[in-house]
């Protein structure tokens, strides 16, 4: 029962958040809606027994990425920046502002609908395994990270190193 409640709350947050990200004009508000959406995703992870991933979602996304996003928004003029269409209709018909939404929606819907139709074909063996899931996921993830998945674990540090150095180099204020 509580599971259902949690699921409903989280899914509402996800639906509301993700749609509002797409539909809000103000970029700062979009960030906040993204935050809601990510919180909802964390809730969904909880309902799927993935407590550690949910907490990671909270720590990294809620505490990290969204803050970085709002910082970057501030550094690029904040909400004062109003997006308007520069090309207009004449040059490339597809890039109009309202039309963009329509075309975007249609193409995205088509694409995703078909992709998910493919996904839904993978039906076999998809009964929920109630009670079989190990509840202490963090230990299992830890064991996997140091045995089977040790290479991705180490490589992710290299990825982070690259991101850090690269981003710091790009964003660094320069002379002259």
């Amino acid at each position: 029962m509580f599971l259902k409640f949690l699921f409903i709350c989280s899914s509402l947050a996800v639906l509301f958040g993700s749609l509002m990200v797409a539909c809000t004009k103000d970029i700062m508000h979009s960030c906040i809606y993204l935050f809601f959406c990510l919180l909802g995703v964390a809730g969904l992870y909880l309902t799927l027994n993935a407590d550690f991933v949910a907490a990671t979602q909270l720590v990294v996304y809620a505490g990290g990425i969204v803050i970085l996003m709002v910082f970057a928004t501030m550094l690029t003029g904040g909400s004062a920046f109003q997006a308007h269409n520069k090309f207009g209709f004449k040059k490339i018909p597809m890039m109009g502002s309202r039309e963009t939404y329509i075309i975007g929606f249609i193409s995205a819907f088509l694409f995703i609908a078909i992709t998910f139709k493919l996904l839904l074909n993978l039906k076999e063996g998809l009964t929920p395994l109630s009670g079989q899931m190990p509840f202490e996921t963090v230990r299992i993830i830890g064991h996997k990270l140091v045995t089977d998945h040790v290479l991705p674990f180490e490589i992710s540090s290299v990825l982070l190193l690259g991101a850090l150095v690269g981003a710091a180099m790009i964003a660094r204020p320069r002379r002259g």
């Binding site: 799927l48 993935a50 193409s107």
Partner: protein, 101 residues
């Protein structure tokens, strides 16, 4: 009843709005938000399939790495956006057309 398809439907909507943001919004940072949505939709799928199909937690680990990659991607993407703003004083995506033929 909550089953796999509920989660798939949710991730569907998330993916959809992510793609719409990517296609329709003009702000580079907003597009990065869209990418986050898309990545999270993928994450939901991974976890849901892990929960509903097999008992080993590889999906969790995959999602963990998705989060890692998302963080790295956001860091670099935002840095590029900021640099772009410093050079061009705008972050309108239609100004980033240096590669125009």
């Amino acid at each position: 009843m909550i089953n796999l398809y509920s989660y798939l439907g949710l991730s569907f909507v998330m993916f959809l709005s992510g793609i719409i943001v990517l296609v329709a919004r003009k702000n580079i940072i907003a597009m990065l938000l869209g990418i986050e949505l898309v990545l999270n939709a993928a994450g939901i799928n991974f976890i849901a399939y892990t929960r509903f199909s097999n008992a080993n937690l590889d999906g969790h680990i995959f999602t963990l790495f998705i989060i890692v990659v998302a963080a790295a991607e956001a860091a670099v993407g935002l840095a590029i956006a900021i640099r772009f703003f410093q050079i061009k004083e705008t972050i309108h995506i239609d100004d980033a057309v240096t590669l125009q033929g």
